[in-house]
Subunit: 251 residues, 2 copies
């Protein structure tokens, strides 16, 4: 039978594609990964809208592939739902690989991802360098990686994805504080009060919030409900600057 890996988008139950919804309704089993991201609706909203029982897949199982899901997909049509786009996070490729190795047909249904939803900031997506993750500092007191990625990206724009450990969700404010903290240890003058940043919350939803400006102007703004992300623009084209100014914290 077929393993369908289906992106369900960024905000709520209605972000699934028409094709994806049809497939979910026709599948024998429906799994949902529920850890790498956060929707603006509840698990029950999803189950009700899809009119299906949804089984929560836990992180350990899916990161290592899942023998149970693979076994089931040999005889049943199985939908594996992923928030955002199926492979924007790193953890589902293994599931696809194991299914293919077992001769199970795999079909991918793509959807929106934070990696392109940030296009709304006006920064051109093709000019982004490597994406960096900022984990909670308690877990990584000597954290340097996001700082090093920023440095390596040079003139390119840098997207920082912020840690999600429900019920803890890193805010733009915490992310900025973390970068300032690393600056204090590394002292390479990469992050200053005047560094330009764009803080984003709830991109892809009906209630997005975007503010641009210098770190000193952004660091205390309340961005509201998660998820948040942070962008440090590289060299901006004047058209990019125009949109940057549209979101200015001073306007």
């Amino acid at each position: 039978m077929t393993l369908y890996i289906i992106g369900i988008g960024l905000a709520d139950q209605q972000d699934i594609s028409v094709k994806g919804l049809e497939i979910v309704k026709s599948c024998d089993l429906v799994y949902l990964e529920n850890y790498t991201s956060l929707l603006q609706c509840s698990f029950h909203d999803l189950a009700k809208f899809y009119d299906k029982e949804i089984i929560l897949a836990d992180r350990n199982t899916t990161e290592q592939g899942d023998h149970k899901i693979i076994e089931e997909a040999k005889n049943l049509d199985v939908a594996f739902l992923v928030i955002g786009d199926p492979f924007s996070a790193t953890t589902h490729v293994e599931l696809m690989k194991q299914a293919k190795e077992h001769g199970i047909e795999v079909r991918i249904i793509n959807n929106a991802s934070i990696l392109t939803a940030i296009g709304v900031t006006g920064l051109q997506l093709y000019k982004f360098g490597k994406t960096a993750s900022i984990p909670f500092l308690d877990d990584h007191p000597n954290l340097e990686t996001p700082y090093n990625v920023l440095k390596e990206n040079n003139d390119m724009h840098t997207l920082f994805l912020l840690d999600i450990q429900p019920p803890k969700f890193m805010t733009v404010n915490q992310a900025i504080k973390t970068l300032i903290d690393i600056e204090g240890r590394k002292k390479e003058n990469l992050i200053t009060d005047e560094t330009l940043v764009i803080g984003c919350a709830r991109l892809g939803s009906g209630d997005p919030f975007i503010k641009s400006g210098m770190i000193k102007d952004i660091k205390d703004i309340d961005f509201g409900r998660p998820p948040h992300c942070l962008i440090i623009p590289g060299k901006m084209h004047f058209l990019e600057e125009e949109i940057f100014n549209l979101y200015s914290s001073n306007s």
Copy 2:
């Protein structure tokens, strides 16, 4: 009223989200940009499925924003449909900006993009550097940019988006030939017969085709119908290599 900028995904009429479809059905006017990408269905398939008259917007109008659309959105709900995700191409930010400047509410409905659909190759998206475009060489006989981006990306992966000038669509084969041609002029030994590449066709559709291998093994493979794209992996993690081998042209 509201200007809705709605991504309609990568393959066909059923890739629009449930939310997007509802909005399209409720709008007074529906525009479609029809130049930066290519679906696997026809214009008429879209119009029929949406049960709406669709107006084709031409490139010049939308790149510079569109005064007609802005004027209409002052009094009507207008949907502007974009293949893929609204801001994956560079040309629609201006439309959003002008609408906002005229006090028109703008709402973005995100969808799948080639920029994340390439995750199916097993390469981790956060390790991609700048994206490069390869235009037809006839138009740019001294083309160097994609080669320079590849060099600049260093250890990072590089995605090449291939020119689309309907009815001409650049193939993986033509893209490889173009890179070899630039190598012949630049002679920096960046592209050789042994360079590893991944050729992709029709990602996001029900009929994707992906082949990985050295340039000498890939350059004559027929990838079939457009659109195509090409990837040159940077330094691969062993998990990335495993999936790379799954798509090997020798297997």
